[in-house]
């Protein structure tokens, strides 16, 4: 097997907090091959976004290696990193805050193109319009500002911007959690088709196991900053080994497989037991 496209080894991230440091990510290692998708799941606050930020070098890891296509970017200086930045991009958890409110959708999506050296403004805007169309936004969105979009639409602008850089790695931090199911499905389809076309690699952060099942090839489960389980999506979701994973899996509400009514009888018996 060839070298994985992204290899993270013994990643540790500490945050400075009053009176010391807080270890948000504790000795995590994983890798993804080119053109594949890894999903990161885990409870809220377990360090998923922190991993994303570390991959983007928005935080500097305390220790460990992040090898991207053979280059370790974990402790690279910002100046050295800058030329490489277009190769790895991220879609943010917070769709509203991550868009500059004074720019139009078209300008936002066109910005990465400028950095890539597309000189002509017309050309940039044309390319941006194409991308915006690809993520399923109507043409009249081009001149709107972020505040004029709904959460789901903003999320898609974020995705379009990330794609504009033609990245080789895209980290999606809860990229679909603000969307309702139908839009979510559309976005997932889009991401997949792009992967088929360009061989892009995804790191997909989500707490929706259904979504994970749909998009990822492998899954890593995190708890309190540590990696608890790692394996192919099929195996982790259908036969979880670790307690924590099982707990997660059990709690997941899967309407497609649910039948029956609201469990009144069970609740009543619970309540009675409590009163006793």
């Amino acid at each position: 097997m060839t070298k994985p496209f992204l290899a993270v080894e013994n990643l540790v991230v500490d945050y400075h907090v009053p009176g010391g440091t807080f270890r948000a990510v504790d000795d995590v290692s994983f890798s993804v091959d080119k053109g594949r998708t890894i999903a990161v799941v885990g409870e809220s606050g377990c360090g998923k976004s922190t991993i994303a930020k570390a991959l983007m070098r928005l935080v500097t890891p305390t220790s460990g290696r992040i090898e991207l296509d053979g280059t370790d970017i974990a402790s690279m200086s910002e100046a050295k990193l800058r030329p490489m930045r277009s190769r790895f991009q991220m879609v943010f958890q917070d769709p509203y805050g991550s868009l500059d409110p004074h720019m139009t959708a078209q300008e936002i999506v066109a910005e990465p193109l400028k950095l890539q050296g597309v000189r002509s403004k017309a050309e940039r805007h044309k390319a941006a319009a194409t991308l915006i169309d690809q993520v399923g936004l109507p043409v009249r969105s081009l001149d709107k500002h972020p505040s004029e979009f709904s959460g789901g639409q903003r999320q898609r602008i974020g995705i379009a911007r990330a794609l504009a850089s033609k990245p080789e790695l895209l980290v999606c931090d809860e990229a679909t959690s603000a969307l309702d199911v139908s839009v979510q499905a559309q976005v997932l389809r889009l991401l997949k088709s792009i992967q088929d076309d360009t061989g892009i690699t995804y790191v997909f952060i989500s707490h929706n196991l259904g979504v994970v099942q749909e998009i990822s090839d492998s899954v890593m489960v995190m708890q309190k900053g540590r990696l608890v389980e790692h394996g192919s999506t099929a195996s982790v979701l259908t036969a979880p080994k670790e307690d924590y994973t099982r707990k997660l899996r059990r709690a997941a509400l899967d309407p497609s497989t649910m039948t029956g009514l609201k469990p009144r009888h069970l609740v009543r018996s619970l309540a009675l037991a409590n009163q006793a």
């Binding site: 930020k53 983007m56 928005l58 800058r82 030329p83 490489m84 930045r85 277009s86 790895f88 991009q89 991220m90 943010f92 917070d94 805050g97 991550s98 868009l99 500059d100 409110p101 004074h102 720019m103 910005e111 990465p112 950095l115 399923g136 936004l137 109507p138 009249r140 001149d143 709107k144 004029e148 709904s150 789901g152 639409q153 974020g158 911007r161 850089s165 309702d180 139908s182 839009v183 559309q186």
Partner: protein, 310 residues
């Protein structure tokens, strides 16, 4: 079927199956609605602001061509005439000069000083405030300490000293006023940038590979500039008043230049007998400042043009 989350169309035109129920919105509801009030207020501000501003600006621009006595023409026999006597709309001053003419000619100088000062202070304030807020660290420490130092210094004394040092020429006075005013802008900009730089769109820009300075100029400043310029607009009045305080304390532009500040500070000796000599120029300043600020507010509050094709 588009999954695009659309705004429900007014009047419920979307669903054909449903029988559209009548709207319960009455005229009174509309009149009382926040949006209506805001729109009306913005319109009112725009109109009144424009009128007030133009009422002052146009005569000032036309001062040379209006049929007015020369601003420096003295008629010692007709000194301190009250307004509306002998064709002097604003009356005359202590040397029998036509006050209106002086106010208009003075306005040219004062407005130039005021606008330039406000531009310079706005530029310095926004640049330094933004740099301090964005870069933090030693840049912030230095800017903050300078701000603090300037606040802890008796402002007028410093201004008087600087004027004494470089002479009371118009560029010096402009500069001095700008120096006096930049902290206000800088402080505001700094605190806004502090908030702004933590927003995810800054991280987003960083990921794209933008240089720090590019992020500051292309993303952060455009997002704070609107608020900052509103403060700068208010400073215009302060600039004119500061110039008059300087004149009051003797550091105004060299005589016999008429400026608003000078006219007011000269007139204050006569305030108990010839009220108009201070009050009328003062009112002109108030009119203009109120006008400019209403205009600014109105432009800000004006409802965005509807772009939606829905």
């Amino acid at each position: 079927m588009s999954l695009d989350t659309a705004t429900p169309a007014p009047g419920g035109a979307g669903e054909t199956v449903r029988q559209p129920s009548p709207s319960a919105v009455t005229k009174a509801d509309i009149a009382r609605a926040g949006a209506t009030r805001r729109r009306n207020a913005a319109k009112w501000k725009l109109i009144v602001g424009t009128i007030c501003t133009l009422l002052v600006i146009i005569p000032i621009i036309l001062a040379q061509v209006l049929p007015l006595p020369d601003a420096n023409f003295q008629d010692l026999g007709a000194r301190r005439l009250p307004p509306l006597t002998d064709g002097h709309l604003f009356g005359t001053d202590q040397l029998g000069r036509d006050l209106l003419s002086r106010v208009l000619h003075g306005g040219q100088v004062s407005l130039t000083i005021g606008l330039l000062a406000v531009l310079v202070s706005g530029a310095i304030g926004i640049i330094l405030g933004a740099a301090a807020g964005y870069y933090g660290g030693w840049v912030d420490t230095i800017v903050s300490r300078v701000l603090e130092a300037q606040m802890s210094l008796p402002l007028l004394m410093m201004l008087l000293l600087v004027v004494a040092l470089f002479g009371p020429s118009i560029p010096v006075i402009t500069f001095v006023i700008a120096i006096a005013q930049w902290p206000e802008v800088a402080r505001l900009t700094r605190s806004m940038v502090l908030v702004e730089r933590e927003k995810p769109y800054v991280s987003a820009a960083r990921i794209l590979g933008l240089h720090k300075i590019q992020i500051l100029i292309q993303h952060i400043i455009p997002n704070v500039i609107k608020q900052a310029t509103l403060v700068v607009l208010l400073l215009l009045a302060q600039a004119v008043l500061l110039e008059s305080a300087l004149s009051f304390l003797g550091a105004g532009p060299q005589r016999p230049f008429a400026t608003w500040g000078r006219i007011i500070s000269d007139g204050q000796d006569y305030i108990t007998t010839s009220w108009w000599m201070v009050t009328l120029p003062g009112l002109v300043i108030v009119l203009m400042v109120v006008g400019v600020n209403l205009l600014g507010d109105g432009l800000r509050d004006r409802p965005r043009r509807k772009k939606k094709g829905a």
